[in-house]
Amino acid sequence: MSEAPRRRFAKALMRHAARVMPRGEWGEAMRNELDAIADDHVALDWALGCVIAGYGERMNVMLQTWYARSGLACLMALLACREFFAPLLIFAYRTQNLGLAHFLGLRTAGDDYRRLIPVMDATPAWLPLLWVAAGLLFLMALGRMLLRKDGSVPLFFLAFALDLAGAVMARSIEASTGVIVTPNLMIRAAGEILMLSTGFVLWRMTRKMPPTTS
């Protein structure tokens, strides 16, 4: 690529970065610097960086909107419900509340809780408590995020760690009983990916919060 097209490309990227940057003054600040950069290669690097900065700032602004916050709150509530599901099913089965067990069983792979009886019988009592703790931590993280208080991210990732520990234990129970609770690996992976993505968005969102004053 010759020098001139590289410079033209850098200028086009800078125009885009300045448009994307939500604060016009900063967009102009980045764009005007380009004229002070003599080397075309450095100018192109500069412009690429500015595009990244522009999109990053745009994302930060979007994450502060009420609909982004509400969407994230829904996702975190969903993750908490996911943690409560297995303990509730086990509780319903062990207390012989078969109506509830049947109702919940319809929402599992195979549509029947009876398929999961060997797994539920083999599950130690502390494992559902671990999931409940994870669910409560997700709810606490959700509450702190909505109240714009610090500490939601560590709570979220602590919940994630408990969920992972529970998942590892559950896999060993599945292996010992020969019953696979969720046969579809994609669905399993989607749950973990959703959790990690939510954690990342939560981190980005809370990172931009103004410091708390006391």
């Binding site: 980045m30 005007n32 002070a36 690097d45 500015c50 900065a53």
Partner: protein, 102 residues
């Protein structure tokens, strides 16, 4: 009392450069050269420091005719105090490492 923000090593590097000549106004490209930070890293830090009141920014007309005005930055008194408080101990501890970019 305001809580002290946590800053990254990149922010520390920028504060270090600004602290070297606190009265001087620096422009973005100059700061990039001095800190070694890419623009994609530098501008979010500049934005955040301005929002937190640690950095002030203004426009300066270009000395070359036909060139656009440039945004320049320097530490505010608050930023200066903060940088001195945060960077000086680190500089004493790891002077060689931090001084390498200055």
């Amino acid at each position: 009392m305001g809580r002290k923000p946590i800053f990254s090593s990149q922010t520390g590097r920028l504060l270090q450069v600004l602290l070297n000549d606190p009265s001087a106004w620096q422009h973005g490209y100059g700061l990039m050269k001095l800190t070694g930070l890419q623009s994609g890293t530098l501008y979010p830090i500049l934005l955040r420091l301005c929002d937190q009141g640690f950095l002030e920014a203004k426009w300066r007309e270009s000395e070359t005719a036909g060139k656009p005005r440039r945004h320049v930055y320097r530490l505010t008194p608050n930023g200066l105090a903060f940088a001195r408080e945060q960077i000086a101990p680190a500089r004493r501890g790891t002077g060689a490492l931090l001084g390498a970019k200055a």
